[in-house]
């Protein structure tokens, strides 16, 4: 035994890095077949960011084509394929999985103080389903591409001659199941794996958001699967379901499609709202304002999301009565969104606000989501929507919500949990520069499109009237700025991976459980069950200059727990 005291060479390398999930096992297979939610989350993140790059390149090609009326760089058919691919990739491969499957997978179990999700094997299966779905989408390009728009409206989608329609429908069908399994996993995990002491109202708001999202994923996505199956059946077997020349009804397709795809909008935005609740509270070091209202508004949005789909169809030929009812119900979504926005703003009041990169993304979200949400009013209102429907006004509105809000929140969340995921800090100034350039580029690109649309420019146009050109040129310049912003952020992350300083366990001063384990977390997350406190009680935090992070003042923590125990006892006696 005496020889063992001399350390072997490879052990010396890691002497100051404790064993963590990244070093726990090695080799490609240890990643591909991993059941560790953290590794699955990281793989999802890599795959989503790769898809984001592809979707973003298509966006830049589109904007370049639109610099001039008529042909600029590609033909009309190629343009139609580009905008279809941009939409389909960004919706199905990027935004829908980005927060729940990538960030959620990593963060949710640790926030719960759990070792993993409830069904780790199902989790791995859902990742590989995602890869299969993405594979089919990629294959559809080789099979002739598709030019249907990401909405696959019939009868165009069942009659177009492009060969990639059935492969991409199959791909989206499979991606749907990946999403359903993730949702199912999260619902069970939140119900069954909460540690002792974590009541529903002790959960961080991100978990409330992920839980609400999971409910929508499980309930709505099967409808998409059915719809896409029917579409494939019609296209392949010529059974008339949606095509009137075979006895079908194209408006029926729109009902089916939006019955999923409107809730899908909330699959994208609700988890983003959850991230923002974390970012703003943690970086303002301030008890979140109106916890219960924020939590319940997530659930309210999830429920309302199922009964507003008809507002996509005010001009579709559906009856005026239905349009009226859907308009009325659609306004109901505005209320929980407004409640959240005001609560976030009030959380800043009397906070101790650190203007870190994640906080700047949080503030960007507040700014952009306010615009995106308010312009929804124009579109929910019946008579103004008739003018604005299918114009660039709609394009601008949903980019403010889907990209300016959901994606910005995702990237903010990535900055927030990056030290936890990688164990590395990034260059804060470069990250802030990336955020500001992205913010400016985004507004130049998409605010212009509000005017473009309200002035009467329809969407999905390859060619346009000369009077619209000035708006298009400004918008394209904005898109290039946006590209530079994302590139800056990418450089920042790559630099961090190569030479970032070691991250402390709690660089921002968060109080939810993931900040109580090391960065990066060990394979099992927690050696001992963590103590669950109020996730937004920052009173016991103190800055530790040696760690360059925050730690807990044990005296004040003990006092807080004691006070709480007294409170519970008092309630118990009452």
């Amino acid at each position: 035994m005496s020889t063992v005291t001399a350390p072997r060479p490879h052990a010396v390398d890691h002497v100051d890095v404790p064993d963590n999930y990244l070093t726990h096992s090695r080799g490609l297979l240890s990643w591909m077949l991993t059941l560790d939610h953290k590794r699955i989350g990281v793989m999802y993140m890599g795959a989503v960011l790769a898809s984001f790059l592809v979707g973003g390149v298509f966006a830049l090609l589109l904007r370049t084509e639109l610099l001039t009326p008529g042909r600029t760089i590609v033909s009309a058919d190629t343009y139609n394929q580009f905008f279809t691919l941009h939409g389909a990739i960004m919706v199905f491969l990027v935004i829908i999985p980005s927060i729940p499957a990538a960030l959620g997978n990593f963060v949710l179990p640790i926030m719960l103080g759990a070792k993993d999700v409830a069904f780790p094997r199902l989790n791995l299966f859902s990742f590989w389903l995602w890869i299969a779905g993405a594979g089919f989408t990629l294959y559809s390009l080789a099979a002739g591409g598709f030019d249907t728009g990401w909405t696959f409206y019939t009868p165009y989608s069942t009659t177009t001659t492009t060969g990639g329609v059935i492969p991409v429908l199959t791909g989206v069908f499979i991606l749907g199941f990946s999403s359903i399994f993730t949702g199912l996993n999260f619902i069970v995990t939140v119900h069954k794996l909460r540690p002792p002491g974590m009541t529903w109202f002790r959960m961080p708001l991100f978990l409330w958001a992920l839980y609400s999202t999971a409910i929508i994923q499980v309930l709505a996505t099967p409808v998409l699967a059915i719809t896409l199956c029917l579409l494939i059946v019609e296209r392949l077997l010529n059974i008339g379901i949606f095509n009137p020349s075979m006895g079908g009804d194209p408006v029926l397709y729109q009902h089916f499609f939006w019955f999923y795809s409107h809730p899908a909008v909330y699959i994208m935005i609700v988890p983003a709202m959850g991230i923002i609740s974390e970012l703003i509270a943690v970086h303002a070091h301030r008890q979140i304002f109106g916890y219960r209202f924020i939590a319940f508004s997530s659930v309210a949005i999830a429920m309302f999301s199922f009964i507003v789909w008809g507002h996509h169809m005010f001009t579709s030929g559906q009856s005026g009565l239905m349009s009226t009812i859907f308009s009325l119900i659609s306004f109901s979504v505005a209320i929980p969104s407004a409640v959240k926005t005001f609560n976030w703003t009030m959380t800043l009041y009397k906070g101790t606000i650190s203007l870190t990169a994640p906080m700047l993304y949080g503030l960007s979200f507040l700014f952009l989501f306010t615009i995106g949400g308010l312009t929804g009013i124009h579109l929910a209102t019946l008579n103004t929507d008739v003018h604005l429907h299918d114009t660039y006004f709609v394009v601008a509105h949903f980019h403010y919500v889907m990209m300016g809000s959901a994606l910005i929140a995702m990237i903010g969340g990535l900055h927030h949990w990056w030290p936890k995921m990688t164990g590395k800090m990034y260059d804060e100034r470069l990250a802030i520069a990336g955020c500001i350039i992205t913010f400016v580029g985004f507004n130049v690109t998409f605010f212009t499109q509000f005017m473009l649309g309200s002035q009467g420019m329809p969407r999905r146009y390859y060619d346009y009237q000369p009077e619209f050109q000035v708006y298009h040129v400004i918008s394209t310049i904005g898109a290039y700025i946006l590209g530079v912003g994302f590139l800056t952020t990418a450089v920042c992350f790559v630099q961090s991976l190569r030479s970032g300083a070691r991250a402390p366990a709690n660089p921002w001063g968060g109080r939810s459980l993931e900040w109580q384990c090391a960065s990066p977390p060990p394979h099992d997350n927690f050696k001992t069950a963590p103590r669950v406190g109020d996730p937004y009680d920052f009173s016991m935090l103190q800055w530790n200059p040696a760690e360059k992070g925050y730690d807990v003042d044990p005296v004040r923590e003990a006092a807080a727990f004691a006070a709480e125990a007294r409170g519970e006892q008092a309630r118990g006696h009452a």
Partner: protein
């Protein structure tokens, strides 16, 4: 709020063309006042809430930013029932108000008066045909001024959408059902296309979607009546021997998106050499089902004459598909009468007299005058 109501009520009164502003284009129909007022009022509400939220955000961030060595404040409110209720109830009331006025406007938008003048609209990939009660047809939408006009619309193939920004109207055209929209425009444009209002297709429909735009021309009633009478008879008024070069190019405008005249590849076969192909049918396979022209055309065959074949290709385009083209052409049955078909066939027979864009290049024979 009162002013919205008064303007919505005043909508029935005759409107004039409104100038374009930062947000909305120039407007010229009865719907403009209602829609624009609504739009601007929603904007004012948005400005207010935007300034409120972003203003508070900026002030709080500036005032409560962490400074060197500052300690975490613990004196912030964590909840306030009154505030929560006020920002739940006030937005709710505002939303109900907006819904109500939007609904009033929508009722006006969707309820055409009984005395409206009907125009039948057919959309196809990628163009529009406008048909009038007296049988007249046009590719441009020409309507009378000062009178409610109702468009009764159908689609021949996929979804389209009729969007006239200056009139603030939009409605999808759905194959298999009729949809309608209505407007009244009091600002005449005359027959000058440059002065006409834009009519766009707003529902994505493929390759030519962005070029499916037409003009709306508004004529004073007497001028409109004259135009209508003349339009109904335009094909009949052209003498037989002038039909192919006078009517041909006009009709070809509907074909040119897919069929070139100079052999350029398109979505359908080029017309170059078409008459030679069908009048001297060869036995080599030319159709997607493997048949040749000689299999189809000739005495005792499916088509006795080449003219029969062309006519059926226009009326039943999917029946025999020239390889390698897909089944994408809409039928022109009911849109092109025998005389129209005759003009198109005549043009095919004399293609050497036309340039690549379909303009007739020979001079008009004087003898016919």
């Amino acid at each position: 709020m009162l002013s919205i109501a008064s303007i919505l009520i005043a909508q029935a009164a005759a409107p004039a063309a409104t100038p374009a502003d930062f947000w909305l284009p120039s407007g010229a129909s009865n719907h403009v006042a209602g829609v624009d007022t609504m739009f601007h009022w929603i904007n004012y509400i948005c400005y207010f809430f935007f300034v409120l939220v972003v203003g508070m955000m900026v002030v709080f961030v500036w005032k409560y930013r962490a400074k060197e060595g500052s300690r975490i404040r613990l004196d912030g409110l964590t909840h306030h029932q009154g505030l929560e209720l006020s920002w739940t109830i006030i937005p709710l009331l505002i939303c109900i108000g907006i819904f109500f006025f939007g609904f009033r406007g929508f009722v006006d938008l969707t309820t055409p008066p009984k005395n409206s003048f009907d125009v039948n609209v057919t959309a196809y990939k990628w163009g529009w045909t406008f048909k009038y009660p007296n049988g007249a047809q046009a590719d441009t939408l020409v309507v009378p001024a000062g009178r409610p006009v109702r468009l009764v619309m159908r689609s021949n193939d996929v979804l389209h959408s009729c969007f006239i920004p200056a009139f603030r109207v939009k409605k999808d055209l759905v194959p298999g059902r009729f949809t309608t929209l209505w407007f009244q425009c009091d600002v005449p444009t005359g027959l000058d296309e440059a002065k006409g209002y834009h009519l766009f297709c707003a529902e994505y429909c493929g390759t030519g979607h962005s070029n499916m735009n037409r003009k709306v021309l508004v004529l004073e009633q007497p001028e409109f009546d004259g135009w209508l009478t003349k339009q109904a008879a335009w094909l009949d008024e052209i003498p037989d021997e002038e039909l192919y070069f006078k009517a041909g190019p006009k009709l070809y405008a509907r074909c040119q998106q897919c069929h070139s005249l100079d052999g350029t590849a398109g979505l359908g076969p080029s017309w170059k050499g078409i008459w030679e192909r069908v009048s001297n049918p060869t036995g080599s396979s030319a159709f997607t089902d493997g048949k040749s022209y000689a299999d189809l055309i000739g005495p005792g065959k499916e088509y006795g004459t080449p003219e029969d074949y062309i006519r059926d290709s226009i009326y039943n385009p999917g029946k025999h598909l020239v390889a390698p083209y897909g089944n994408v052409m809409p039928t022109f049955k009911g849109q092109l009468n025998d005389r129209g078909v005759e003009a198109v066939i005549g043009m095919m027979k004399h293609l050497d007299e036309f340039d690549a864009k379909g303009a007739w290049t020979k001079s008009v024979p004087v003898a016919t005058k």
